[in-house]
Symmetry: D3
Subunit: 341 residues, 6 copies
């Protein structure tokens, strides 16, 4: 049994409405619904790994909000810190790609109950009580000034209470542009409060206004990125990221790296062929890395576990990963992929 910790994840819950199979939207008069959201996805994976994962969020006070919360509870997430309020449910519409045709997301999240929440609605000292980690992503501050302030409050309070801060870059320029937010400024403070950053050179360039010099080799590039991050953010202890090559919409190569100030490790590429659902792959990776860190495993084991967790997510339809720690471990160990009876 792994050692269990309390994680607090802060972010918006979204409802995904997707065309069935590989169809275009509304070819059939039917949409498949999945609950997701970057931070909620991380929470679900962490709960599957045995942790106490609590989501802090707000959903609309209607049957959609209620159903979204119900799904999170179903998958073991503590939703007692999610309240219901005015506003709409954040949605996104998905056309799943195939072959040379990429998947297409149409966001419809403006005016959501979450984005409408004033920062003062979150009582962070109480919400972070007993937590080992706070997990945030770059999507929350991109939703508007209120959300940006709430994310900053959360991270500041976490540092003050000795709760570690995990931040996943997830830079989305369109969201920032909508409200003309100062992405660089807001993210810089959040990066500076983080113990671990899930970022690559592009995220860092936005925040620091400074390019990481290109490298032929993904691992070297990641190490250079990490070096720049470590030199910029004194609290930072880990920098992790995946390297993805999309050969086709449903055929990727995925490798990963994680660096500390002392050490760097690379988990070599897994071939993702016949991808079922790519969304949430990065979130499952982050959850895998965070789990590995809580278990104080050697860095290479952490990297392999994170990569395998991210890889397995691609095999599950929907935003959530349903793989347990044992499932991920079996892949890391190279167990048979034939039917398990």
């Amino acid at each position: 049994m792994p050692q269990a910790f309390r994680f607090v994840c802060f972010g918006e819950v979204l409802l995904r409405l997707g065309a069935p199979g590989r169809q275009p939207l509304l070819q059939s008069p039917m949409l498949e619904a999945h609950v997701g959201g970057a931070e909620a996805n991380v929470a679900v994976s962490l709960a599957r790994f045995g942790h106490h994962a609590a989501l802090v969020s707000r959903v609309p006070d209607n049957p959609l909000g209620e159903a979204a919360l119900g799904q999170l509870r179903r998958h073991g997430v503590d939703t007692t810190a999610v309240d219901c309020g005015e506003g709409r449910m954040g949605l996104y519409f998905l056309t799943t790609g195939a072959m040379q045709r990429p998947s297409q997301v149409v966001y419809d999240r403006a005016g959501s109950a979450f984005a409408n929440t004033p920062p003062a609605a979150f009582d962070w000292p109480r919400l972070l009580e007993g937590a080992a980690w706070l997990h945030l992503s770059g999507i929350t501050p991109a939703l508007g000034a209120d959300s940006a302030a709430a994310a900053r409050d959360a991270a500041r309070q976490a540092r003050q209470q000795g709760v570690r801060v995990s931040f996943d870059g997830n830079y989305r320029p369109q969201l920032w542009q909508r409200w003309q937010g100062d992405a660089a400024g807001v993210l810089r403070e959040l990066f500076s409060l983080a113990d671990i950053l899930f970022v690559d050179h592009r995220d860092l360039a936005v925040v620091l206004g400074q390019q990481v010099p290109p490298h032929q080799d993904a691992f070297e590039h990641a190490q250079a990125t990490a070096a720049l991050a470590f030199s910029s953010f004194p609290h930072l202890q880990w920098v992790a990221c995946t390297h993805r090559q999309a050969r086709a919409s449903d055929h990727h190569l995925l490798s990963a790296s994680i660096c500390t100030r002392q050490e760097a490790t690379f988990a070599p590429a897994m071939e993702l062929s016949g991808v079922v659902d790519r969304i949430g792959g990065g979130d499952a990776f982050a959850a895998g890395i965070l789990h590995g860190l809580t278990q104080a495993w050697p860095l290479p084991q952490v990297a392999r576990f994170g990569l395998a967790a991210g890889c397995l997510k691609h095999s599950w339809p929907g935003d959530f990963s349903h793989s347990s720690e044992a499932d991920v471990e079996r892949l890391v160990q190279g167990a048979s992929m034939d039917v398990s009876r």
Copy 2:
């Protein structure tokens, strides 16, 4: 073959997302999609009756807007006057009721591409060219100041061009409250421009600030309502409405009346048992009445056709009626309801 006319319908196209069967929303991870909207529904019925029905509207420039337009075209509506623009698709979520449990609609239409359209975007003199009728409903002006102005412009221009104006009350207090619109004032002008009103005593009370005295008998009540309307609006030629008793969510009694300044007629109640889909029933009734008027039928025939058209809509899933003129006529004539081979 009925004589065909050009109808221009002006209003928002909505996407309905409904739980399958009689399930609560998201019990199954699936939503059934239908295109609708009060004025679009009227246009579809009119096209099925053989008319040239054109919709004036705006949808978002994304796959949802495109699919919604495609569905209207599929059902014979001329969509060349629908443009694509900024904003989102207006949505509503539906839980279909059963037995003693009513159906529940959750609207999610704020910020839609249609509601965002400035009134100047509609070139009414051109759009109304060749039209016999303009059809509007009380939903459009309720969406915001811009939509209210556009509806007024359309109706004014129609009167000026000799195009008849049909207006369906559809009073929705929540929509007006959202933007603190002057419902009474706006609707009063629209009512005053109409040749036909689909209204009952409640709509009229809102507009005139004056209650129609209650009557035991639905027909007498409708006649009193019509009398008040005729005395208030000099252009008005017809007042039509349905009378609905919902004994259960899926068991209604529906009768109808239509009055001119000279004549009043009542189509006695049809029993709607095992209702498949009640939404759009009023729109199908309006289309049936308008069709009858274009054919210059005697008033009782108009009323029976309208009621039968409205009744048959309850048997079709989705917002649209798929009944042709011949289908409606067969019901009016009392043809057999056993399998037609």
Copy 3:
């Protein structure tokens, strides 16, 4: 355990392609498939009642024909006398009605493998070996000159071999018109070969060119019809029919009568409310009557069993009834209709 007999049913197997639920055809890009055909439906019911029911037919030598045969075998019909040949699968497309909207059948059966079969292809002496009954309907001879000849051959040979002949009128004027067949002449011979006729006054009028005088009362009308039939066809021993009032597409009243030369009995109306699938109701009734006759029950019991069998068919989706003898008997006995655990 009922006593079991060998029944030979001769007719075309059809594939029904229906819109799901109460939708119009192709609103959703999906059709529900059911195997049917008047005589095949009778065979399935007889097999469920414990008899050895063999179908004589021909299906196309392709995956559709093969699947249709497979379904019949699945439901216990002996298909060893069905061969595969040139031609297409007979189809019909169904839009299921609701409320005041009748169901609509679009036939697409011209050029089928069955209709293309020359009468000489059927070796009746061998096919009827060991049979107690031959069952035919008026559809087979309506399909073309070859089918008409084959039906006549079958009935003649049955009489010769001492096999009882059951004939269900099923008069379909459109089919006869297609090939300008002499309906009256062909059917007259078939009627004259029958031991039991499932016919009403309309069928008889076609065959005899003589109207049964109208009666207010359904039972009296049926008795007058039977009297005329008995006086015209000396071999005839039983005349049975149902009386159906369709108050709505899914709400019928169904009663039944059966007459011998000595006796007449009437099974009073059952209320069919919330009809699931009306197609095949007459076939299930015929099977019920035939079963009752084989068991040598008193005539009123035969009538009640037949009516209950017909009634229960309306509760099963598809052309086949899935009710066993015990199921039908429970309804005849008035057993509880609450959940059976």
Copy 4:
């Protein structure tokens, strides 16, 4: 806001596998899955009414058990007292009836993880801490000697800790016969420990070996039953039951009564037409009554609320009711059954 209490429900969680729509089992190669179980159903309703409803149970340690728990959590039930263990998931297969054809349940629950649990596995003093009510039904003790002992332990301990005991008769002779259990003896003790019994004259006859004399009138019969119960069980405070007439598989009349030692009240019949899903109707009634008692409403209000809760369950597919207190109250108040927007 209603006052909230802690309820502990003890019983087996079942997985229902049902044929879609009105089909026979496996006509389509698909089964619809629902989680249920008499006591779990009560817990879900109580949670919807705002209470803290905890289930005490055991599910198998496999994906089915996990999914069942997840569904309960989703609907707001506290599952922290459900553990995972050896054995299988209890199943039942359902063919939903229609018209004159009754629904048919095939149980497949022998050898379940719950039935295999030794009574000592339940630490009742701890499990009942803080609870206002314990709810049990006659199904649990019918599953085997271990389950019977566990039910008795629970009820005894509840009485000792001042937790009220609710017992729903649910007499199932087949289950008792399987292990030759002494139904009368076991149930007599459980009845004697109850504060409220949901029973009718049949249950009581089993337990007391004594018939309640038949009454023409359902209410009088219920009062006579209650009188006998009160005279036999000194702790008993309330006796409640429904009276159901099944006119067809999907058309019932349902009334209810509740009696105290001082008072008796009758909630007149609601017509259940177009029943969607009858299973769980009694459980929703029980939950409604228990809710009413916690709110200290007058007895007639309790009865009407219970009956309305039971009635609304028939409109939801699956074993659970999704109606909130407000939903039930609206029906009690006679609010409109037309679409709620």
Copy 5:
């Protein structure tokens, strides 16, 4: 914005009925319906590329014909030149292959409304008014003498009105054999009227009775084929074709070539792995090439665009491609295949 032209496509509309997923026909009692037909498919793609694409055809006057037309209108095809008439809907049944198992088509199109249409029913001078191109394929003349005459009339009139003629070989020996048509003679005239031919060496061998000598290299073979075609047909300006290697049912390599009298270009193979739906791939290629020619792009760009258009079709379920010009262009440009947000 591309420059838009009027295209007239002439051919039969078919309804595809396919087994879901990778199932055999009727394993599940369900068929998925898609509208298709070689020329209709081209029209849909051209409409998606921004052209005015009109179909000339005939469908049966029943709900199937109506639905097929509705689908074409939905996807932007001008159907005003499609009339309704006697006859049936052309069908084909599809079992989609997988792995080493090829897809299987069962045609059921004999006696269709289209094939029954006399050539005089088409008023070509009017139908071709304003058109830049007429597109035909070898399927139409193969349907019967009437269709062959109609195709010839269309092509002759096009040449006379200065409308360019596009002809896609699509040689189907079974169709020609059914009516003993003179394939070589009919096709020779049609080839001789074409400005562009989509043919390979097999088509040409049929028409000219002369084999193109085999080449190791696909491009050289195509050039030799084109040379023979140019020398045989003086009006001919372009010869285009794809080269397909099917390594498995769902894994192909697809390259393409296009030749003029002066120039030849080859678009190297794209790997089609995880093919979703191969049907209509050639039609999408033809539409892509025609689009490129209208835009007067350099020949290599035309070839790459055509190949990419054909490739993308394989990723869409159904006969139609839903890719826009921008979608195809993105693939030509090598844009990222990861999720587009």
Copy 6:
């Protein structure tokens, strides 16, 4: 036309309940049902190859057992030797894997009607009359002492009647452990009665308590295994097996070998990419080999046919293969994998 033989297959029929697509169990409230069972799967393939395949088994006397039998009859299996009895239907629940995630089977077959059947219930002399082959697998004796005795009785009687015995190892340690059965002893007798064994070195090691020395090369390993088997079992004439490498859950390499005492042949690996359904692959292989042996083909042809039959099964959803002899032969011959029209 191949020469047809009578095969008797003896084993349990199972109902598979699987999550749709690549979902986890009960993510959607739906399970896909398939009938299967190792020996039933072999029977279905043999029937498709033209043989008379009879199953000897027992199913529960309820709608599940009836439906399972119906499915077998549908696919051409003779089920007249399957009786109905007490007990439950054997089930298994399947989560289909994808990518690096293996499929997962949860068995729920304890207490099945088949496993409960006493060996005396099978009248082997009569059941084996006219049979050329008896086919058994290692699953039947693993179900309990009764099943083990019945399997032994069957094999002994077959040898006595001159019916050849085919035995597929299918060693399942968990089943044996449940009843502490003497796997080695029971299987040793069954192996010694077989004419053909489908086994690999692992099966043999269990039975003989002796390891086959490891070989680098699959074929050499198979030959060594066969040599050991031949030396241990004097009746044995053939040893066949497949060699599977699972590179991913849906990407395997499959080769096969078959040895006699004189000859050994190897069918080189087929690449199984995009596997649709791996279950039943071994059974289809066994059926292919048995078919080849009945046709007295040269050993290499037998091996290639068996491997191709096994390969094609992976392309069909469900436990059964739907490939005919001609389908398998086309793959052996290397026919085109593009659409067959």
